[in-house]
């Protein structure tokens, strides 16, 4: 769970200073504006999934990153599609059956059929 917090946040800390001792090296120096995280999902977990495939030999860092980002987009997409079903039922809580309906209704989600049980 701690990995999620390490995805960069807060104000950048600067190393320079008048003090005599050199500052300890920062574990991660955020370079972009605060809040502009590139991906929220921990790359290590995504990498573990990728390595689970016996046919995969190696995966580059960029590939892992894009997969993480794609997974986020996928979560957003499926959540929104499922919500449309809930809305029709005039409910404000997304239920499992809304998800099942979305999977059946949307062609792109066909690969999920039978995998969530």
């Amino acid at each position: 769970m701690a990995a999620a917090a390490a995805a960069g946040s807060g104000t950048p800390r600067e190393e320079e200073g008048p003090s005599g001792e050199t500052a300890a090296p920062q574990p991660q120096a955020p370079t972009s504006a605060p809040g502009a995280r590139l991906s929220r999902l921990p790359l290590a977990r995504v990498k573990a999934l990728v390595k689970a495939d016996p046919d995969v030999t190696l995966a580059g860092q960029e590939a892992i990153f894009i997969l993480a980002r794609a997974a986020e987009l996928f979560v957003e997409t499926i959540a929104k599609d499922a919500y449309c079903c809930a809305q029709q039922g005039k409910r404000k809580t997304l239920q499992r059956r809304d998800l099942d309906n979305a999977i059946e209704a949307v062609d792109e989600f066909a690969f999920l059929e039978g995998t969530l049980d």
């Binding site: 769970m1 990995a3 999620a4 320079e16 008048p18 050199t22 090296p25 120096a29 370079t31 972009s32 590139l38 991906s39 929220r40 999902l41 921990p42 977990r45 995504v46 999934l49 990728v50 689970a52 495939d53 046919d55 995969v56 030999t57 190696l58 995966a59 860092q61 960029e62 590939a63 990153f65 894009i66 997969l67 794609a70 997974a71 986020e72 987009l73 996928f74 979560v75 957003e76 997409t77 499926i78 959540a79 929104k80 499922a82 919500y83 809930a86 404000k92 809580t93 997304l94 239920q95 499992r96 809304d98 998800l99 999977i103 062609d107 792109e108 690969f111 999920l112 995998t115 969530l116």
Partner: protein, 147 residues
């Protein structure tokens, strides 16, 4: 602990946050639905990996790269992801480049500091010549820190 690929779930907290931000305020999600979406995301990654691997093998490469994944998205009929993914990739490359340059600079500074420390240890044993040289280096260090 037997690990099937589908059991490699992504962190619940992150999944929940992504879902909540995608939906309007006030909308909730049941635990079962959230857990199912998390599972679906894992399956998505596995499926995408498999598709991407096919493209890599076609290109006779053993390493999956970014374009393999983008091709996989199109193959899976998620073309709408391609543009935002390309933008994210650009930003990621810029960030990696910045990090690399920063760490190279840190390494140079660290190497210099390590040299000075090693000489500190042997200072007691050395003669005056070395002490003079060391003083010069110490002065240099102070100059840098003042910046």
């Amino acid at each position: 602990m037997a690990e099937r690929p589908e059991d490699l779930n992504l962190p619940n907290a992150v999944i929940t946050r992504i879902i909540k931000e995608a939906l309007p305020d006030g909308v909730n999600i049941s635990k079962e639905a959230r857990s199912a979406i998390s599972r679906a995301a894992s399956v998505f990654v596995l499926y995408a990996t498999s598709c991407a691997n096919n493209f890599a093998m076609k290109g006779k490469r053993k390493t999956l790269n970014a374009s393999d994944v983008l091709s996989a998205m199109e193959e899976m009929e998620f073309q709408r992801f391609v543009t935002p993914l390309k933008e994210a990739l650009e930003a990621y490359r810029r960030e990696q480049k910045g990090k690399k340059e920063a760490s190279e600079q840190k390494k140079k500074d660290k190497d210099k500091k390590t040299d000075a420390e090693e000489q500190d240890k042997s200072r007691d044993e050395d003669n005056d010549e070395d002490e003079e040289r060391l003083e010069e280096e110490e002065q240099n260090e102070e100059e840098e820190v003042d910046n």
